[in-house]
Structures are given as structure tokens and as C-alpha cells.
């Protein structure tokens, strides 16, 4: 698949599945896969292979991850907006009931954890939960379906699970982190500085030590938030790919691979929901901590 016309190995297959469709700027003088050299001023194009992606560095966009991510976000917004327009005090039915159930669940979670008065936390949590869930849900689509279809349409790479892309998960984690900083400063003001410098050792001599520890602790939050989701989903996706690769190992592997596929998919229903839930709960907890004076 990755290298047309050549014998495809399992590792090629896996690498192909783990490569994003990347649109980026190749640096000047870079020699492309077909022998062309990039002209002066660089060249924006779709990357072909890991070398080109590496050469693009930061000036690149994972078109597939971001596309699926935004697409799923739009689905979320459209679906919930559709319900929001129709929601009334009358007896709800069907889809409206289901959506209201989710909203109530989120609302309870927020009320349990977050005791301040903030109009942002609940919708933020809802967005995170549903969006992350939808992104994770892409994991349950058999790994070959969309990439193969895309290949037929002439698109070389396609990674359809946005949450297996650290850019996506860290993007959200950074969003949450910025909110944490914003509310910490807004609510505590100078107290936030004091919290960073006077904890855990309440003495002026320990200020550097305290500052170091607190800043590490603070920075660990978005990283743990984003990388936890990324790690879980990436590992899950990887196992799906390995199971899919098993299908090509011979006729005897067909049945075990199918059973593994089904078993892992069923287990994954739990994982994707749980990861979405954890991301949401930790967001609420972190923002709740940002609102509370110690």
C-alpha cells in the first residue's frame, strides 16, 4: 500500500497506518522521493513518507487528524444544536431524550466536583466529553476501511482516529491549561503567585525550590491530560492494526484474528468512553483547583 508495486511487509503496513496525511512546507534544497529538489523559498505540498514529514518539521498540518477532528466537532455541534432548538418542557422523546441524558450526566458531574459559579465549565465539559468520545469512536471503524477507500480516491495516507494524534490531544490539553492559568490568576490574583512560591515549604528561603516543584506540578497537568488520552488511544489503535495484520498471516489465523478483533473492539467500547470521561473529569478537577484557594 505504502510503496506501490513493491512487496509489502507487515512493518510497512503498520507504518503506513500510523502515518498522517500531512500537508506542509518542505525546506529549500530538500530532495523529494522522486528525486526533485525543492526550489528556493520552500514548497507547500503533501508529504510522501516519513522523511518528508520529518523535514517539514513544525510547518505542517495533519490534514486527516484535523479534518476528522473538526468534522466530528461539527457533527457534535449540529446534533446538539438540533436538540437545543427542539428542547422544551414537554415530554422529550427519542434522540432529544438521549441528548438530555448526556447533558444531565455532565451537569451532575460538574456540580459534584465544581462548586464555584462559572458558566463555562459545564459546556466545556460537555464539548470535551462528546467530542473526545466521537474522536475515540473512530477507533471502532475497522482500520483498513477508510484508508483503503481514500487510497482508491488517490489519497495516500489516512489516519482516522484524531485522538491517536498527540497534536489533537495536546491541543485540547493546552486549551484547558490556558483556562487553568486564566482562572487561577483571575480568581486568586496574587494568591496564585503565593501558591506557586510558598508551597509546600512556607519559608522565603525555599522559594526557588517551591517554585520549581509547583511549576513542574502545574506543567505536568496538561501533559498528563493530553498524553494519557493519546497514549491509550494510540495503543488501542496499534493493537487493532496488529490484529488486522494478523489476518494476512495465513488462513489458520483467520478465526483467532477475528475473535481477537471482536474481543478488542468490545473492550475498546469501554476504553473510549472511559478515556473521554477521564479527560472531562480531570478538566473539571483542574479548573476546580484553579478556582479554589488553598
Amino acid at each position: 500500500m505504502a510503496a506501490a508495486g513493491q512487496e509489502q511487509t507487515v512493518s510497512d503496513y503498520i507504518v503506513h497506518h500510523l502515518t498522517n496525511l500531512t500537508y506542509g512546507k518542505l525546506p529549500e534544497g530538500f530532495e523529494r522521493y522522486d528525486g526533485e529538489t525543492v526550489a528556493a523559498g520552500g514548497h507547500w505540498t503533501f508529504a510522501h513518507g516519513a522523511d518528508e514529514i520529518a523535514a517539514m518539521g513544525f510547518n505542517a498540518i495533519h490534514v486527516d487528524s484535523l479534518g476528522w477532528s473538526i468534522g466530528l466537532g461539527i457533527i457534535f455541534c449540529a446534533l446538539f444544536r438540533w436538540v437545543a432548538v427542539r428542547a422544551s418542557a414537554e415530554t422529550p422523546s427519542g434522540l432529544i431524550n438521549f441528548i438530555e441524558m448526556i447533558v444531565e450526566f455532565i451537569d451532575n458531574q460538574v456540580k459534584d466536583t465544581f462548586h464555584g459559579n462559572n458558566k463555562l465549565i459545564a459546556p466545556l465539559s460537555l464539548t470535551i466529553f462528546v467530542w473526545v468520545f466521537l474522536m475515540n469512536l473512530m477507533d471502532l471503524i475497522p482500520v483498513d476501511v477508510v484508508p483503503e477507500l481514500m487510497l482508491l480516491a488517490g489519497v495516500e495516507y489516512q489516519k482516522i482516529v484524531p485522538s491517536t494524534d498527540p497534536n489533537i490531544t495536546m491541543g485540547m490539553a493546552i486549551g484547558v491549561f490556558v483556562l487553568m492559568l486564566f482562572y487561577s490568576i483571575k480568581v486568586k490574583g496574587f494568591g496564585f503567585v503565593k501558591e506557586l512560591t510558598m508551597n509546600p515549604f512556607n519559608h522565603w528561603a525555599f522559594i526557588p525550590v517551591n517554585l520549581f516543584m509547583e511549576v513542574v506540578g502545574l506543567l505536568a497537568k496538561p501533559f498528563s491530560l493530553g498524553l494519557r488520552l493519546f497514549g491509550n488511544m494510540y495503543a488501542g489503535e496499534m493493537i487493532f492494526i496488529l490484529i488486522a495484520a494478523l489476518f494476512s498471516a495465513g488462513i489458520f489465523w483467520l478465526l483467532p484474528a477475528a475473535l481477537l478483533q471482536i474481543g478488542w473492539a468490545i473492550f475498546h467500547i469501554l476504553v473510549i468512553t472511559l478515556q473521554a470521561f477521564i479527560f472531562m473529569v480531570l478538566t473539571i478537577v483542574y479548573l476546580s483547583m484553579a478556582h479554589e484557594d488553598h
Binding site: L66, A84, A89, T127, I168, M172
Partner: protein, 156 residues
């Protein structure tokens, strides 16, 4: 792990979706749910109130019933008393009437007895005179002795 511009794109998308959700999704849904909750709570409260009212009404009904029963019992008792009194009065009146009638009767009897006695005496005296007339017809002059007998009757 390739961190690249995707992360910026994701942050922007994140902000956009959260803002949309905060503005257009969360408030209407929650408002509808709260309104419904309020409606249900009102309904339940109304039901509670109604059942409370019913309880009160039942209690009042029971109270009124027992009151009415008491009243009825009192009326019956009074009537019984009145009846007893009437009977007693009637008895007394009857006895008095009977006594009066008896007295009248005995007075009549006395009177008639006296009259009869008088009559009898008159007849006896007439008869005695007749007898005596017959006996004395020969010997005694009736006109002579009549005054004497008349005097005798009067002395009786």
C-alpha cells in the same frame, strides 16, 4: 510524535466548539430541562396539596358526622324525656280527673241517698198516716191528728 501546526488548528477548533456549545447548545437544553423539572415539581406539589386537602376534608366530614350523631342523640334523648314528662303529666291529670269524677259521683250518691231517705220517710209517714187513718178512721179525726204527725216528721 510530530508536533506541528495541527496543534494550533486543534486549539482554535477547540475554542470555537466550546464557544458554540456555551452560546447555542448548553443554555437552551438546560433551560428546557430546568423548566420541565419545575413543572414536575409543581405538579407533585399540587398533588401533595390535593391529597392534603382531601385528608382535611375527610377529617372534617368525620367530625361533622360525629357532631350530627351527637346532636341526633341529644334530640332523641330530649324527646324521650319530654315524652316521659308528658306521660307523667297525663297520668297525674288522669288520676286527678278520676278523683274528681269519683268525688262527684259519691256526692251524687250521697245526695240521692238523702233524697231517697227523705222520700222514704215521706212515704213511710204517708203510709203510717194511711194506716193510722184506716185504724183511727173510726176513732180519730184525721184533720185533728194530721198537724201532730206533720210536726213529728219535721222533728226527724
Amino acid at each position: 510524535m510530530n508536533i506541528n501546526l495541527t496543534i494550533i488548528g486543534q486549539i482554535l477548533a477547540f475554542i470555537a466548539f466550546v464557544a458554540f456549545c456555551m452560546r447555542y447548545v448548553w443554555p437552551p437544553i438546560l433551560a428546557a430541562m430546568e423548566e420541565r423539572q419545575q413543572k414536575i415539581a409543581d405538579g407533585l406539589a399540587a398533588a401533595d396539596r390535593a391529597s392534603h386537602d382531601l385528608e382535611l376534608a375527610q377529617k372534617e366530614a368525620v367530625d361533622r358526622l360525629s357532631e350530627a350523631k351527637k346532636e341526633a342523640a341529644a334530640i332523641v334523648e330530649a324527646a324521650n324525656k319530654r315524652a316521659a314528662t308528658v306521660v307523667d303529666e297525663a297520668k297525674v291529670a288522669a288520676v286527678a280527673e278520676a278523683d274528681r269524677v269519683k268525688e262527684l259521683a259519691s256526692a251524687e250518691v250521697e245526695r240521692e241517698k238523702a233524697q231517697a231517705k227523705e222520700q222514704l220517710l215521706t212515704q213511710v209517714s204517708t203510709l203510717a198516716i194511711a194506716g193510722a187513718e184506716k185504724v183511727l178512721a173510726a176513732e180519730i179525726d184525721a184533720d185533728k191528728h194530721a198537724a201532730l204527725l206533720e210536726q213529728l216528721v219535721k222533728e226527724q
